[in-house]
Amino acid sequence: MANIATRDAYGQALAELGALNDKVVVLDADLSKSTKTNDFKKVFPERFFNMGIAEQNLLGTAAGFAAAGKIPFASSFAVFAVGRAYDQIRNSIAYPKLNVKIAATHAGLTVGEDGGSHQMLEDIALMRALPNMTVIVPADGVETKQVIMAAAAYDGPVYIRLGRPKVPVLFDETYQFEIGKGVVLKDGADVTLVATGIMVSKAMEAAEALAADGISAAVVNISTIKPLDQQLIIEMAQKTGAMVTCEEHNIYGGLGSAVAEVLVEHCPVPMARVGVEDSFGESGLPDQLLEKYGLTAANIADKAKAVISRK
């Protein structure tokens, strides 16, 4: 597979899924060309529902579809899908444990030029706090396709966080995604870099840079943030004795918090979090923003050295 955005892989996966399962319906809120649900609409127009710019009703209607036995995928930008419709997700989807898949695109800083109003940096925190909710952040196009298929096969609410820009391919076609399972992409002895989403490829870069300095860094892809693969986190903490989390999200409430909760209770080791440090974003090119907010391989490598020194 070429380097594509996870949202592009989502659209392709939906079109494939639609052919495999006629219970799948797709809802959007006037962003189908951007969220790529349009790819499904082209093939299955009778199972595509544009709900207009009305996200509360988008998520509420999706709940109704699920209550009637369908498998709805509801999409909008993450900032609207989660922010505008939190109550509907909580009370109409998570509380009744309805089989709704919320596939939210344009998450994080890499929305870019649209600026802080559109850069969702707290969705993982909000979704992770909801009982019954599964939270998945795929890292590349290959994983995204498998996540969509796995989410459709799973009976219950799932939040899938997708991005706008193209991301490097990390997995080959032999990869097998499983909900709740992390993956060791690179083994190591001195520190573990635990990353999610677009930050997985940054962590791989950081590991290479650290190797040049004689540091052996493991890299773990955590695509399922909830339920978290606690066993793998503990295992890697015991093995390497230090951990750095990497996410395109506020450092509060996301992957870093989830990993810290596990480490504190089961295996306290020096740990640092790479993420947006409790601020909103701003307009700029995605790469400029990642650089400005410290979501870089260089920052990950620096934090890794710092946690190793605290051992």
Partner: protein
Amino acid sequence: MNEQMLKEQARKIRKDIVAMIGQAKSGHPGGSLSAAEIVTYLYFEEMKIDPANPKWEERDRFVLSKGHAAPVLYAALANKGYFPVEELSTLRKIGSHLQGHPDMNKVPGVDMSTGSLGTGISAAVGMALALQMDQKDNYVYALLGDGELQEGQVWEAAMAAGQYQLDHLIAFVDNNGLQIDGNIDDVMSPNPVDQKFAAFGWHVQVIDGHDFRQIADAVAAAKAEQGKPSVIIAKTVKGKGVSYMENQAGWHGSAPSEEQVAQAMSELN
């Protein structure tokens, strides 16, 4: 339609509402009592349902969008045979399946969990869309409060129902005119409710919500309407049937004392 049977059933349901809220020592009697005829009519006359098979795929659906009126729904379901009437006394108590607001995973016959106002009507839209897509002839009924119409989500859902021509969606507005803080026109008027729904492409009727004949005729007219969702604006009396509760906003969300329950029972007998 056996009007006498329905009247008797509504009277029984009112007594159950007062009794269970009295025993729970909390709950929402006013808006439960105002909807007694509407809910009774739907469950005992109109809807295609099977209490022995609550998840029957071919059933009609009911969404209590004004979820705080859970007691009227629970009383109807129990009297219809979905679960024992004796369980009504466990309302709002720890371990009970009868939560303060309806929980579809705990109560047989509850088609959608509700409680946060405005959410139910969207779910009803989703159900109606799913049934329409499958070309099923089932109907989806929703019951909204008039105060609930202040939620923006209601109008998002109304717009979608009009757009998708959901002629198998029939919504009732329990138009008792009162909400927690007082008269709906003083708090935040949703009026003119009829014109608002009409503007969103709905078929609109205004009826006396305590008159079974008018309810029956309105549902029949709603079903006859092609290509439009229907709303039946039911003029009702909050607290209907219990003299000291009627038209009193204070009885929106407070429970009667033992003496008050006894008085209500004698009035309802």
